[in-house]
Symmetry: C2
Subunit: 334 residues, 2 copies
DNA sequence: TTGTAAGCGTTATCAC
DNA sequence: GTGATAACGCTTACAA
């Protein structure tokens, strides 16, 4: 593959001149510029990005750490970043993600080895200290979907608790008294916060949530099915279900319909996330909008800015609040 | 950030020795090895991937070109690659993809600039010659979802026509006579081939497909809705719909239900791709399984092999054939 | 406007 | 076993 040197000698100029042409450098004669360009074309020259990154000490690509691309939620996240990068013509270096603290660690380290200045990281398993440690080494290190106070101005996150509160309030407004919750069995922060929000709303309304009305399962369709199955076989009485996410809600929906329990006539149901499938379900799911794509775009922009040294004021916070999307799975209690 | 040089002087050894330690090189004393390792740890040393790629003239990362990550189909594709890379601890360099020939071109070029030896490319817009040209420069260049004879042993693709034939045959078996087709308005190869397959099956059964029974729309839910809308308002009579993909099928389903046309009682419906949402629809979609994830894993493996110089024999072909997934959206005509 | 030359962090080829 | 040293392809002062 042709190098800058080959071009230089073919064009009868020096390396420096060619380099200037490549980078649209200022001081180079029009004639020379054209000639060099022509020769680069003819020889199919392509600058070596690695050499460039080495000498400039900077890698213009943005690094991304996420798990499970086939999960629609992460796909949206990735897409949000991609959207921004496309407009700015920036590469994405994706480090397949997070199934354990070790893999997450490995993923971030790889990005650092490539000297990525900007990184958007979705980490569920690493602890705050480790993350802060990385952030201290890389100015453009941005966390998505998680808030750590020490680097609060480089976190883009969702107020999970507010969402939980919102869904409970919505269901209370519709006159429901007997509320069941199906949550995620993975005790990472999100489910805990969502559940807290629900409990908060309930207690503000002078009610409480008995443990018997909470089921924990895997946060997917199967989990939703299993959770409802359990609720039913334990004979729990409920007129509404608050699900941890849309996938669980969809599973719950299947199971309810299979038992001839009409939704929303007999039981109301609320999801969380507003992924595509919420719209495809029948009835369409009432759910909470988690603007992950927008948040991801925001995070990418933030990472790029920080990498350039433009930090938001300390104390600035990028908290997003979910909103309720009213569709067809909730009705007033009869 | 600490370099190999810093480590060397801190440990009182030469660059060469440190390099040997990093790469588990053979000839280095145990004591030295441990000492150097310890110092690397203390100083938080990370090898510079760019320098490495430069001097070794190889980039161990695999390059990926795809469009639209939030499309579940591409998400599965990406996931298939990711799965393989995770086990082999290989980085993914993702070049956001294909919205036009120019962006596709740009995406591939970027990967080449990083000197990726292995690449998995999903290209809809570039012509055969261009792609072959790239393939000739990069041994590890593999095409997914497309077949070009000249580089046939580096293509992993689906027999779209066979799928089209299959879906038509399935619907004929169920006694349907009045068949409508909703296809993609983008005249890339896939929809044409799928449609060809359908026509083939029909003509083998002594039937034909009038143009009035075909609708072209965008290959998403909205497109599916619009297509059915059009069919209905044009008064076309049909007892079955063959959709270009699951998203269109889901849109069609919505629209049919909104018009109180029961599926599958009044109208049967078949999708294509078997993405997640086919399972979430009510009724669950009968569709064609497009094993894209498996194919993607295969393509990644192939790319890595080719990059190492291990080519499959010329003439070898990696054609996948879709299979029918029978769910609940098709019934025998009454 | 153009050229020279130093150096980015590694690996690899020699010597010792 | 270990150490000099020359690349790798490029950018960027500094000279001319």
């Amino acid at each position: 593959m042709a190098t800058i040197k080959d071009i230089a000698s073919a064009a009868g100029v020096s390396l420096a001149t060619v380099s200037r042409v490549i980078n649209n450098g200022p001081k180079v004669g029009d004639a020379t510029r054209e000639r060099v360009k022509k020769i680069m074309d003819e020889m199919g020259y392509r600058p070596n990005a690695n050499a460039r990154a080495l000498v400039t000490q900077r890698n213009p690509a943005i690094g991304v750490v996420i798990a499970e691309l086939h999960d629609p939620f992460f796909a949206s996240l990735a897409h949000g970043i991609e959207t921004l990068c496309r407009t700015r013509n920036i590469q994405i270096l994706m480090s397949a993600g997070s199934t354990s603290p070790e893999t997450e660690m490995r993923a971030i380290e790889t990005l650092m080895e490539h000297r990525c200045e900007a990184m958007v990281v979705h980490s569920k398993f690493l602890d705050d200290d480790t993350l802060v440690h990385f952030a201290n080494q890389v100015p453009g290190f941005v966390l998505i979907n998680r808030y750590i106070e020490a680097i609060g101005n480089r976190c883009v996150w969702l107020d999970n608790q507010a969402g939980g509160k919102l869904m409970a309030e919505h269901i209370l407004h519709h006159g429901h008294e007997d509320i069941a919750v199906i949550s995620s069995r993975y005790q990472i922060l999100d489910p805990v916060q969502r559940l807290d929000g629900i409990k908060l709303a309930l207690s503000e309304a002078g009610k409480s949530l008995p443990d018997s009305h909470i089921e924990f399962a895997t946060p997917d369709q199967e989990g939703g099915e299993a959770a409802v199955q359990n609720l039913l076989s334990r004979g729990v009485k409920f007129s509404a279900i608050l699900a941890y996410n849309d996938a669980m809600a969809a599973g719950a929906l299947s199971m309810l319909l299979d038992h001839n329990i009409a939704v929303p006539d007999k039981v109301s149901l609320i999801g969380y996330d507003d992924v595509l499938l919420a719209k495809y379900c029948r009835p369409k799911l009432t759910t909470l909008r988690y603007p992950i794509e927008m948040m991801a775009t925001h995070a990418a922009k933030l990472a790029l800015d920080c990498a350039k040294g433009e930090f938001p004021e300390p104390g600035t916070t990028f908290k997003y609040t979910p909103t309720i999307v009213k569709r067809d799975s909730v009705s007033r209690v009869k």
